[in-house]
């Protein structure tokens, strides 16, 4: 196996395991905030690892850059969504 393929296999597998762990946490954790924590870990780190793993497979530098952009955009949207949900939980707890 070429070293590039071994690298891809290693990182994508690690990313997939993180997604699995995150999903498990999302289903099993007791309250909204811990579930959010599990979800954003999977989104950020899991997707990041998969993107890093796929980088050696890109044909061109621009294709790699596009992958990194996908990860950055997913980071931005995941972070915002988590903050919004956490804010809603906080407001509901403290009452209007």
């Amino acid at each position: 196996m070429a070293p590039a393929d071994a690298f891809t296999l290693l990182f994508v597998t690690a990313g997939a395991i993180l997604f699995l762990a995150g999903t498990l946490g999302l289903l099993r954790f007791p309250d909204t905030l811990s579930r959010l924590h599990a979800l954003s870990k999977a989104d950020n780190l899991g997707l990041g690892l998969i993107v890093i793993g796929l980088l050696p497979q890109c044909d061109s530098v621009t294709a790699g850059l596009k992958l990194v952009c996908v990860w950055l955009l997913a980071q931005l949207s995941a972070a915002t969504a988590s903050q919004l949900i956490a804010g809603a939980v906080y407001r509901r707890k403290s009452g209007p």
Binding site: L73, L76, S77, A79, T80, Q83, L84, G87, A88, R91
Partner: protein
């Protein structure tokens, strides 16, 4: 291995569809429906139909989801008194749906193998349009009439939404009226639009040669506009404004005008002279992208809720 993935995808889609049909809470069903649109997009990707996948994710998941969520929020106050569909009605709907599904399945299975196809003809004629993406060629050259009518239908839908406004509010501005604008939302609405606009322009531009196009680009533009309106960075425009209406009808009008010019230049309605087919198509697509973005954004924004200013 890929068979396993496909089977899992199909099982997932069926389970989600069943969940949407059975769940009692409307909002729960709508959120599941948005997920269903994204999953269906994955399904289209597996069928190598990237154009359809992008449209399904953008329209089926995104825009329809937001429209349904807003409709549900409007209906909620009066829901307790609202009549729900009776058991018999549900059974009837289920039987009708099952019959349609069975009929479609029979029709698909009855195709001779290989199925009759126009794909080779579409591919051979591709050079005469100057395009590289056969889907765009079908949409804007071979079956341009269908596409034109589709865009007109979108505008009719918007007129339908607008006409829900009472007379004295006609021509006023719709309002997205969030109770509070959380800080992260305002931050996102300031950060994301430049990138979103870039991505939308890119999607429209590569649509000539690769998966992408007017609908996908237009939806992304509409999403960015809605984000800005939702974060209250810019108010929704008054629906009587001339510039708003010009953008709305600009795309279909240009399409129609070039269609009629086809009589003079290429001997038929919606025919393009071969030498300038590509610039004409790209021009129409640019205008259509803006029109679609404006129409979808205003569809979500809803009917006018404040009286027009003097």
């Amino acid at each position: 291995m890929t068979l396993l993935l496909d089977l899992a995808l199909v099982a997932w889609l069926l389970a989600l569809a069943l969940h949407i049909a059975r769940v009692r809470d409307d909002r729960n069903a709508i959120v599941a429906f948005i997920g269903f649109g994204l999953l269906l997009g994955l399904g289209w990707t597996r069928l190598a139909s990237l154009d359809v996948a992008l449209t399904e994710a953008a329209i089926g998941g995104g825009v329809t989801g937001v429209l349904l969520l807003r409709a549900e929020a409007h209906l909620r106050p009066g829901k307790a008194s609202g009549a729900s569909v009776s058991h018999g009605g549900k059974t009837l709907a289920a039987i009708a749906c099952a019959m349609v599904a069975a009929g479609l399945a029979l029709a698909v299975l009855a195709f001779p193998s290989p199925a009759p196809t126009l794909a080779p003809a579409a591919a051979t004629a591709l050079p005469s349009t100057g395009l590289g993406n056969p889907v765009t060629a079908v949409l804007l050259a071979y079956r341009a009439l269908d596409t034109l009518l589709e865009k007109v239908v979108l505008i009719l839908a918007l007129i339908g939404v607008w006409s829900l406004a009472p007379d004295h509010l006609w021509g006023g501005a719709p309002s997205l009226r969030p109770d509070v604008v959380p800080e992260p939302l305002a931050y996102l609405a300031q950060t994301l639009p430049p990138f979103g606009v870039l991505i939308a322009v890119y999607m429209f531009w590569v649509g000539a040669d690769a998966p992408g196009g007017t609908f996908q680009g237009g939806t992304v533009l509409a999403a960015m506009w809605l984000l800005v309106m939702l974060a209250r960075l810019r108010p929704a425009p008054e629906t009587r404004r001339r510039s708003v209406r010009l953008v709305l009808i600009g795309g279909p009008t240009l399409f129609l005008a070039i269609g009629f010019l086809g009589f003079a230049m290429a001997g038929g309605f919606l025919a393009y002279p071969e030498s300038i087919a590509k610039p004409l198509i790209v021009g129409i697509e640019a205008a259509l992208t803006l029109s679609i973005a404006a129409t979808l954004g205003l569809l979500v924004a809803g009917p006018a809720q404040t009286a027009p200013g003097r």
